[in-house]
């Protein structure tokens, strides 16, 4: 059904550059969003994945045709890898009519279903996607497909009951699920040490009876490799893997948050380990030239500029366009009281 992805050390030059492209696209897109935010054009909050991009890009890149994934707010990069467009993201953040949710929901809260690969939309409540994706791949298995599902959870979200019920169900069902615990040190202002008494999330794999791996979340190839192995095992019917990716959230919870609560040394330490800088060093080491990287950066910027322009100039939704599809094929009733409608009618309105 799918061409299996090679291990990281057998990725082609083209594939390595593609990874680089997505890393740059992810960061560039978020930088453009930051600008929009400062200009007051983002409707609502903006959640950055600065410094964590490798967790999304490396893992999503290991998915294959037909596979399922659901990003959380900091996995915007995964959407890009799986074919989502910056234009859609811009439109989502600006609440435009052309956004995939037609302005009904925000940021990465959108999705699609396709034989090429699906992205069931996330909701805000952390943990809920774990049982939902478990059910998704159980369905796929019932239909004879060997689809794998990938999703993420934060060090904070791992405290939810839905995490537990979902992962436990996935394990007892040997469902082909790969769950990445993105341990970035913080859940909003709460440090991981106040989230759980054992901050080594990979230890949970034993408890649930699944495979476990801990990986440098700032090393895109390490993330890729760990995810790829987990996906292969899942596809073979061996059940879920919990991958703990160690990383750091290099911006506040959202743009309004100056993260004063984070010790400066912690930021400084992780600044040395920026995933894009690390990967550039690697690429230069395997003989890829600066000019190539520069070209990619330029291409990324051009693409983003074009898509942003188009998104910015697109209209907001018509005010009465939010009434359809609560139930299949129907439009919600206008709540205007009967006597108001009658009185309007009487007045010829």
């Amino acid at each position: 059904m799918t061409t299996e992805k090679p291990p990281a050390d057998r990725l082609t030059r083209g594939q390595l550059l593609e990874l680089y492209y997505f890393l740059k696209l992810n960061r560039g897109l978020e930088e453009k969003l930051s600008n929009l935010y400062r200009q007051g054009k983002v409707v609502g909050g903006l959640y950055r994945s600065l410094g964590q991009e490798a967790c999304s890009i490396g893992s999503a890149y290991a998915l294959e045709r037909g596979d399922i994934f659901t990003p959380l707010i900091r996995n915007l990069g995964a959407i890009l890898v799986r074919g989502g467009s910056p234009h859609d993201i811009f439109c989502q953040y600006m609440a435009k009519a052309a956004s995939p949710t037609r302005g009904r929901d925000l940021n990465v809260h959108f999705g699609w279903l396709s034989p090429e690969g699906s992205m069931p939309s996330v909701i805000s409540m952390l943990g809920d996607m774990i049982p939902i994706l478990t059910g998704a791949v159980m369905a796929e298995r019932m239909n004879g497909r060997r689809t794998v599902a990938l999703t993420w959870i934060g060090d904070g979200g791992a405290s939810t009951g839905a995490f537990h019920e979902g992962l436990n169900l996935a394990c007892v069902q040997k469902a082909p699920l790969v769950l990445i615990v993105e341990n970035n040190g913080w859940a909003y202002s709460t440090p991981t040490s106040r989230q759980t008494a054992n901050t080594n999330f990979v230890d949970r794999a034993t408890a649930y009876g699944c495979f476990g791996a801990q990986v440098d979340g700032n090393d895109v190839l390490a993330v890729y490799d760990a995810t790829r192995t987990a996906i292969q095992r899942a596809r073979q019917g061996l059940g879920p893997t919990l991958i703990e990716a160690l990383t750091m959230r290099m911006k506040g919870h959202a743009e309004h948050d100056d993260m004063k609560y984070v010790p400066k040394e912690m930021v400084d330490k992780w600044a040395q380990r920026d995933p894009i800088a690390l990967f550039e060093r690697f690429l230069l080491g395997v003989g890829i030239g600066t000019n190539l990287l520069q070209a990619i950066a330029t291409r990324v910027d051009q693409e983003l500029t074009t898509e942003l322009a188009s998104a910015e100039s697109s209209p907001m939704p018509a005010d009465d366009s939010g009434m359809t599809d609560v139930y299949f094929g129907s439009t919600a009733e206008d709540p205007t009281p009967e006597i108001v409608r009658k009185s309007r009618k009487a007045r010829g309105l």
Partner: protein, 322 residues
């Protein structure tokens, strides 16, 4: 002749034979055939891939049903008692209900389980949870009162493109028996049914209270009062047209439900009548419902708590006098 329970079983069984997308998941639905044996024999017939015993995880199993439904399946999630629906609440109101609206992902699932009191189950095995969901756009709530409707509504619920909460009244499971049409038929979701025709007073009710209401109507008919009983069958969407039809005809509305009085579904019914049938009303809109307490366990307490034919008849008489 099928009991209410057998009618539900038959609907699911026949539909599973017809439609390979249908499967059942829940606690003890396989090995045991469910706490009330609604799925008895299903494991043997359909195998463990389609009859799935889950861990004790309402959030997990409802979540899995949602996920499977997004990928073409028609899952039926059984809750061992409907009282446990609070443990999976968030998945229902925040994922299932809003998914289609937000991004187009329809969630055709049925969440079903034994609801209602009358069997001395105490505060946690007797609840009528419908009001939790009455203000949640995107959900449908089905409350069959008869074996025939139980079958027809179950078939409709499974085939419905949207999430349906299917409340089975456990008091009726083995107490009601009737001739149920064989084979494939559906009872449309959203359509009430005149369970008993009458002229003077309209009772609007659902579930087990349909039977208490009919009993009350029969009681007072000797006294010359003609009562129409409307069985809503579906609480969401609510059949406003038929509610207004009967009330406009009789001019007197009596709402009966087993959910406690304050904040129960009777409020919505009263609001519909108060807005749209105002000019036809000859008397106050009256509700007969339990007091605002948990469902008590001990038989005398539970009996005092629940509406019954005598209490309903009293309200009919007072309305008739009015």
């Amino acid at each position: 002749m099928l009991t209410y329970l057998e009618a539900i079983r038959q609907a699911m069984e026949e539909e599973m034979v017809r439609d390979p997308r249908v499967f059942i998941l829940g606690e003890d639905v396989g090995n045991y055939g469910g706490a009330f044996r609604v799925t008895q024999g299903f494991l043997e017939k359909f195998g463990p891939e389609r009859i799935i015993d889950t861990p004790i995880s309402e959030t997990g199993l409802i979540g899995a049903a949602i996920g499977a439904s997004l990928f073409g399946m028609r899952p039926i999630a059984e809750l061992q008692f409907i009282d446990f629906i609070g443990c999976g609440f968030n998945q229902i109101v925040n994922y299932a209900a809003k998914s289609r609206y937000r991004w187009g992902g329809g969630v055709p699932i049925v969440i079903r389980g034994p609801a209602g009191a009358g069997v001395h189950g105490g505060p946690f095995h007797s609840q009528s949870p419908e009001s939790y969901f009455m203000n949640v756009p995107g959900l449908k709530i089905v409350v069959p009162a008869t074996p025939t409707d139980a079958k027809g509504l179950m078939l409709a619920a499974i085939r419905d493109p949207d999430p349906v909460i299917f409340l089975e009244h456990k008091f009726l499971y083995r107490r009601l028996k009737e001739e149920v049409p064989a084979g494939d038929f559906t009872t449309p979701i959203g359509e009430a049914r005149v369970a008993r025709a009458g002229e003077d007073i309209s009772i609007i009710t659902y579930g087990a209270m349909v039977h208490a209401s009919i009993e009350a109507a029969d009681l007072v008919s000797a006294e010359g009062v003609s009562v129409e009983v409307l069985d809503l069958r579906t609480l969401l969407p609510m059949d406003r047209r038929r509610i207004l039809e009967t009330v406009k005809k009789t001019g007197r509305a009596l709402i009966v439900h087993e959910a406690t009085k304050t904040g129960g579904p009777g409020g919505e019914i009263a609001a519909i009548i108060g807005e749209h049938a105002f000019e036809h009303l000859d008397a106050p809109i009256v509700r007969v419902a339990p007091p605002d307490t948990p469902v008590p366990y001990s038989p005398p307490l539970e009996e005092h708590f629940l509406p019954n034919a005598a209490k309903i008849a009293d309200a009919i008489r007072a309305l008739a006098e009015y």
